[in-house]
Symmetry: none
Subunit: 179 residues, 4 copies
């Protein structure tokens, strides 16, 4: 699965052959099919695992009673840590716009993760801290900024480090709070 993650994240689902995955994993081609019904099954399992892991990063120790600011800092820190720990995984799970091969379950899980963000936003709005608009607008806003930062580092337009990451976080925060 590690081999599959690396290959899929670099080359895309259709860009990788199953024998190549097996080879990189040091097993026989046929063995892949002892664990996964099909290539689609494999990619969905991978997606599921890594999206679940991201969900776990968000939910574990989430400071439900802390201030909105603290919660945002927590979320950003978890997003950063996940991406730092598993850059291939982040690349993989965030590059599936074309993912006609993802199951309903996987798409639903993706939605769940967004819902965590929106839940946070609603709380901040109720507390009078965050601007009142469609929660997804706020979530997409800071998540999009993060994703672009990550992509920019992959394309050598930016350096990946915690300082830059926090700088972008603070840009986002400045926009999110009520004036």
């Amino acid at each position: 699965m590690a081999a599959a993650l690396n290959l899929f994240s670099e080359l895309g689902f259709h860009g990788v052959a199953v024998p190549r995955i097996a080879k990189d994993a040091g097993i026989a081609t046929g063995s892949v099919y002892n664990y996964f019904k099909s290539k689609e099954d494999l990619v969905n399992e991978l997606f599921w695992i890594w999206k679940q892991k991201l969900k776990g990063y968000y939910l574990t120790d989430f400071p439900a009673d802390a201030s909105t600011r603290m919660q945002f800092e927590f979320i950003w820190q978890r997003l950063h840590k996940y991406t730092d720990d598993f850059p291939q995984a982040f690349l993989f799970i965030e590059d599936h716009l074309h993912a006609s091969y993802l199951t309903k379950d996987c798409l639903a899980l993706e939605e769940e993760v967004f819902e965590i963000g929106r839940y946070f936003v609603r709380g901040g709005q109720a507390a009078g801290v965050l601007r009142v608009t469609d929660p997804q607008m706020i979530v997409g806003f800071f998540f999009g900024a993060f994703v672009q930062y990550f992509k920019d580092t992959r394309s050598n337009r930016q350096i990946w480090n915690i300082e830059n990451s926090l700088a972008i976080r603070d840009l986002c925060w400045a926009a999110m709070v009520v004036e």
Copy 2:
């Protein structure tokens, strides 16, 4: 080329077979190869054309002498209009992280377009209007927010319209300007 754009943007480069493109275009498979040396050649030509078009949207009538705020509104409006006019094209040109098939020329063109954004940011920073950080950080920030908004509309998490777009623009602006 229209058929190829639609298919590539929905299914990705490796997800589309040449006969499918030909069929959608209403021509024979072999005819594709009368116009393009290879599938890679086709995707690169497509990328080039649509990225150039985006560049043109930015540069045509750019208000070089207007205020930073006006310039930002212009840029956002052009980004929105391009995406509104050619959503498939925007999807296509912004979904190429895995694009091992893009030529150096195409990657250089992509960089040129980012440079337009950075040029704007430097101007705003010189004018004392925009926060002083790495210009790409600002560019990536608002561009990432826009891309995520667009993606959210594709996934039915958001509605595509000018009001929402401008709301995000204003979120970005709030973050970009000096306190």
Copy 3:
């Protein structure tokens, strides 16, 4: 036809595409089909013309009343001159062992040309000058030596010139005459 000759002789029948022939000839692809029913028709016409030309080289001014030695010198000189005048043509007509695309007529013509050689041999045998064996054995003997010399020059194992050619001719003669 000149373009076709050059291409066929260098790359073989199956190694050349009709549009390539047209391009080298400076005409349109379709024009080829105004003059030839098919690619096979073209290759057969070419073969016919150049084999006929070789036949003409042998028969024109053949010294029917000269000595066997003089006749052999004539034949060798014509073979040499033909190959010298039209090396591509000689290459082309002598490299058709695989020629499943040649018509009966063309194969019959090839046989006719061999018959000229055998006719000469029979005469020399009747005159008591040449060894008495199957005439084709003598013909194949000196013709094979000539063909190999020509191939050796194409592969840079030999130099193509009249001196070498005559040296091989005299080797052959030494073998052909009765002791």
Copy 4:
């Protein structure tokens, strides 16, 4: 490989499609590509194997200390035996004038085999038995005669048997020795 040899020798490299080879071999098309990187790779491997085999025929038990005449008889006998044992292979390896698909290695091997012949000729010349000219001229002379005899048998102009073969050998010998 046996199927490929038969097809290539009869129809030429470009005259044979890979599925045809697979079919004749009783395997699936794809299986061909489990053993050979490409059709070109296959033809080169074939050429290599059969040319090496011919080289082996010449070199094994070569009577280095025997008379020139004995050596020539040995060489001719090996050439005859190889062609008798593997007529398709001989046809295949000697019909590659157009072989733009052969690698440098294969062409070098072909040269090596010619060098064996030249080595023999130099020895015979040093012993004062063979005429003194460019060794390749002698090699090409008798080899060309042999090849033409073989081709004549394929075209039904000659009968393939040891008597005819030896008759041609003796014709060659008569020409090669000093008067």
